[in-house]
Symmetry: C2
Subunit: 255 residues, 2 copies
Amino acid sequence: MKDKPLILITNDDGVNAKGIKELAECLRELGDLVVFAPDGPRSGMSSALTSLIPITYTLVKEEPGLSIYSCTGTPVDCVKLAVNDIVDRKPDLLVSGINHGGNMAICVHYSGTMGAAIEGCILGIPSIGISLTDYAADADFDECCRLGRKLARRVLKEGLPKGTYLNLNVPSIPHVKDIKVCRQAAGHFINEYMRSENASGDPVYWLTGSFDEAKPIHPENDTLALNDGYASLVPCRIDVTDYDFMQKLQSMIKE
Amino acid sequence: MKDKPLILITNDDGVNAKGIKELAECLRELGDLVVFAPDGPRSGMSSALTSLIPITYTLVKEEPGLSIYSCTGTPVDCVKLAVNDIVDRKPDLLVSGINHGGNMAICVHYSGTMGAAIEGCILGIPSIGISLTDYAADADFDECCRLGRKLARRVLKEGLPKGTYLNLNVPSIPHVKDIKVCRQAAGHFINEYMRSENASGDPVYWLTGSFDEAKPIHPENDTLALNDGYASLVPCRIDVTDYDFMQKLQSMIKE
């Protein structure tokens, strides 16, 4: 008899966040789950690694079909340590999330949720990051779980091309139309700091800002799909080489 | 009279590292420099952001054509805060490095050096990350500076396509042949943790590992160029969308 699929779950909001608990609950029927996640919030950790200090983990819960671990590291540390030290075979699927807050557009670069998905992909595991456009601790993940499970089931069945991972963002609305395959929106954040001061009266800077989307907005952009009530799904590549520019760059440096 | 070019310099080894000092020294003749870098090591910080606590900075040194700031944040925080709060116009060039240690192949995803270059690119600044394949604090940066300055001069003159940044890696050898434009090598790290224990006898895990390059090795790979005595230069894209897979993914989720 074939083993059940092995699914590795992590996130960047920490093992106690509502998003990862609901994710594990909704993927339960698809396979054996190993939840291996940070012991607290690691938002905006991107693909950060812990190399200057050691990391460790503890087993939080174990029952048939579900093990939950809490780890002192970043989301990428969690994926690496789980694959190196916990699972006895390569997981069939990695799902990171559900993130409290959207990771559309260029946020794929900052997101710890997506950092974990990138790491899974690097390690040869079909990997998905899932985010809900709602930062609230008690956000409603129902629609997100429905669509995330649908996608996870598909990826378990069909796999993904080597070097490609998925970025699913779900709008925080009662009825999401469907999943729409999109491209990553371009743009950048502006007015990124709120100046304040510490108890000694010295200036300190809090990260804030708003997204300034590059114009013209492409009709297949993820931000546009989300605004239209769709869940956006962007397939992303580990290989970030700009192949179109290679030849011109070679001439440029030869001049 | 046209202003001199404004060059923003940062890194992930911290403002006191030899690599950033030598970089600033060698770029001095190309423009006015603002060095805005972390106050200590931030290796492996990728594009991590500081959002849960505030950050701050101090002016370390100021002389005509050179200002040096030390910042409590990550490399990406440094780029953001410098652009939002320090410079009075958009820098003409961002150079991140020179990193003590290579950032070839998939290390572009983990590297704080490259995180800063990605951020510069997102903010519309022609951006280059430079790394030397030597972790030593007193590494010899001469060849790296020579090639880095050559490239910086080129990029100042010609610019870069919107959304494209450069990843320059220089081998730690006395005479580097030349800069070769490459693609990012594929592969992943293996045996990534050394198990040890803390003072209480509990297990802890130190990040280590070796790079297992995917076979066959492509002749235009950056790791191969470095092994052959060239500096590798990979043009990279902010937009990580896998355009080739979009249509197939759309059918896959419709089934």
